[in-house]
């Protein structure tokens, strides 16, 4: 019996030792310190407008109006009881937010480190998986209402679209402010721009439409830590979007990175088919877009 009690005491002492709090130094040696990401899954999500009207008013006095909005699962009905939604991500490959440490060594040996906030769509079809179930149809009727009372109407229809592989990173660069980089991965089975009357049903008459089938856009926007993209207002109050210029110190990293592409398997205008068209090897060495005459 005494042996048994002694054994219990020894075991319990060991148990106390296991419960000693881990200090920061020990925690920093734990792998996977990128932090626990927050994952999101869109499950059968849809939204259809009943009498939705989005009006954008500019100084021109001609408002831009969007109506008949829908965002539904691919090939779903666009209104009524038969609407079904689309899915984005899964438990194993979610849309996620994460904070992570990054580091990069440039040509001159300088090492840049930083903490980035990452917002990313699931990798999905970016890695070749079949995500037909996650595709969605997005559409709206765009109307220009002229002062004369005349209107121009165009359906904007994105069928079978997804953004898998798209991500945005943001971080605080040296010197302050907010820097961003990311990749756009946009796929649509069909992009249709179709003139229409208000009562016209979308895509019932494809011969009156400009249609792009099998559209893919892959475009890197800057690169984390060494080629930031920034959005600023200048002293003259003009909007400036800039992707930093590549220099001799960052060129090696930049040119080793994947290049952008725009692909269309077929482009048609009314009954004229232009065939496939590809733009490959896009590299934004420097981009600066600035408005004028806002004052």
């Amino acid at each position: 019996m005494h042996y048994f009690l002694s054994l219990i005491i020894i075991i319990s002492t060991s148990a106390f030792a296991e419960l000693t709090p881990i200090n920061d130094t020990n925690l920093s040696n734990v792998n996977g310190q990128n932090g626990a990401a927050i994952g999101f899954v869109w499950d059968n999500v849809y939204a259809t407008g009943e009498d939705i009207k989005l009006t954008l008013d500019f100084d021109s006095g001609i408002p831009l109006v969007f109506t008949d909005f829908y965002w539904v699962g691919h090939d779903s009905a666009r209104k009524g009881d038969d609407v079904y939604g689309g899915n984005v991500g899964s438990y194993d490959d979610p849309f996620f937010l994460n904070i992570q440490e990054e580091s990069i060594t440039l040509t001159d040996g300088e090492t840049i480190t930083g903490t980035t906030l990452v917002t990313a769509f699931p990798e999905g079809s970016y890695k070749g998986s079949n995500l037909d179930a996650g595709k969605m149809d997005l559409g709206a009727l765009m109307t220009l209402e002229h002062a004369s009372g005349n209107t121009d109407e165009t359906w904007l229809l994105f069928n079978g679209m997804h953004l898998d592989g798209t991500y945005l990173k943001s971080w605080a660069p040296d010197g302050g402010g907010l820097a961003m980089s990311g990749e756009i991965n946009f796929h649509a089975d069909e992009l249709i721009f179709q003139t229409a009357t208000i009562a016209g049903a979308p895509s019932n008459n494809p011969n009156s439409a400009w249609q792009i089938s099998g559209f893919d856009l892959y475009l890197p926007i800057g690169h984390s830590l060494y080629q930031p993209a920034t959005l600023t207002i200048s002293d003259e109050q003009q909007v400036v979007f800039e992707i930093a210029a590549v220099n001799s110190n960052t060129a090696a990293e930049f040119y080793a990175a994947p290049t952008g592409s725009i692909r269309a398997e077929n482009i048609s205008l009314n009954d004229w088919n232009a065939g496939a068209s590809y733009i490959e090897g896009i590299q934004l060495q420097h981009l600066k877009v600035q408005t004028h005459d806002l004052n």
Partner: protein, 268 residues
């Protein structure tokens, strides 16, 4: 055996009738009395206004600004639940009705104010309200720390101090942050009832901005003398880019699940 059948068969029939009755859909009131329901259902009505939301890239830069944000909407049928996997499941509302969601998009700056540019300055009107009567017995005094350094200008008939005679307001133009003191005094202090002019017993100061909104006021009926202090912010030079307004109704479905995704390292 027959006796048993006589007892059991009617009992079963009665029981089955009750079973059917139990399958009648439960209405909202009854549901509310049931404990242990999974999840929470939400209906909501929101009427929200926000003055502005701004973003400045660097301290020396100008701002992006969303001004006059209005959100008036209601929704029914939203749900909050926790799934078996421990994910927080947010069910989208069945119906989202938007009375108005609107904002103005501007860029703006607080530096290099051009006093000759009407867009760069901010004008306030000070009303010395004497109950609609333009009596000579009121004196308006305005003073402020910045009055002498050119940061504040007055237009109209008033300069520094004046006895009101039919002109009961003056315009104050602000070109940088300014603290001012305003007083409106009656020469008739009603020392005795016999010599008290009741028409001068109403001293009311109101400061109104360019849009006609009252920013502050002081005084009331029965008041001989009124004063107030006010701090004007530095004017923000806004340039209009766009107004956006959304109205209407969305029919929605599905849910968004949120969960700890572990170590999702950057893979691309």
């Amino acid at each position: 055996m027959t006796l048993i059948k006589i007892i059991i068969v009617p009992f079963c029939l009665l029981l089955s009738i009750h079973t059917v009755a139990e399958l009648v859909p439960v209405d909202e009131n009854n549901l509310a009395n049931i404990s242990g329901q999974a999840g929470i259902s939400l209906d909501s009505t929101v009427d929200l206004t926000i003055g502005n939301i701004s973003y400045q890239q660097r301290p020396t830069d100008s701002y992006f600004m969303l001004n006059d944000i209005t959100a008036r909407y209601s929704y029914v049928g939203a749900t909050i639940d926790v799934t078996a996997r421990g994910a927080l499941r947010l069910g989208l509302p069945e119906t989202l009705h938007i009375d108005e969601f609107s904002f103005g998009l501007y860029n703006s700056k607080t530096a290099t104010i051009d006093i000759n540019n009407p867009n760069d300055i901010q004008t306030y009107t000070i009303y010395a309200d004497t109950l609609g009567n333009a009596y000579d017995g009121f004196t308006l005094n305005i003073s402020g720390a910045s009055l002498d350094n050119g940061s504040t200008t007055f237009t109209g008939d008033y300069v520094g101090s004046a006895t009101l005679a039919g002109n009961r307001n003056t315009q104050l133009t602000i070109v940088e942050a300014t603290d001012i003191s305003i007083s409106l005094t009656s020469e008739d202090d009603c020392t005795t009832f016999l010599f008290c002019d009741s028409e001068e017993d109403f001293a009311h100061i109101v400061i109104v901005d360019e849009d006609g909104n009252i920013v502050t006021q002081a005084g009331q009926a029965g008041t001989n003398n009124t004063s107030l202090n006010y701090s004007f912010d530095s004017p923000i030079n806004n340039h209009f880019l766009m107004n956006a307004t959304l109205t209407g109704t969305f029919k929605m479905g599905g849910a968004i699940e949120m969960f700890g995704a572990g170590d999702v390292a950057y893979k691309r």
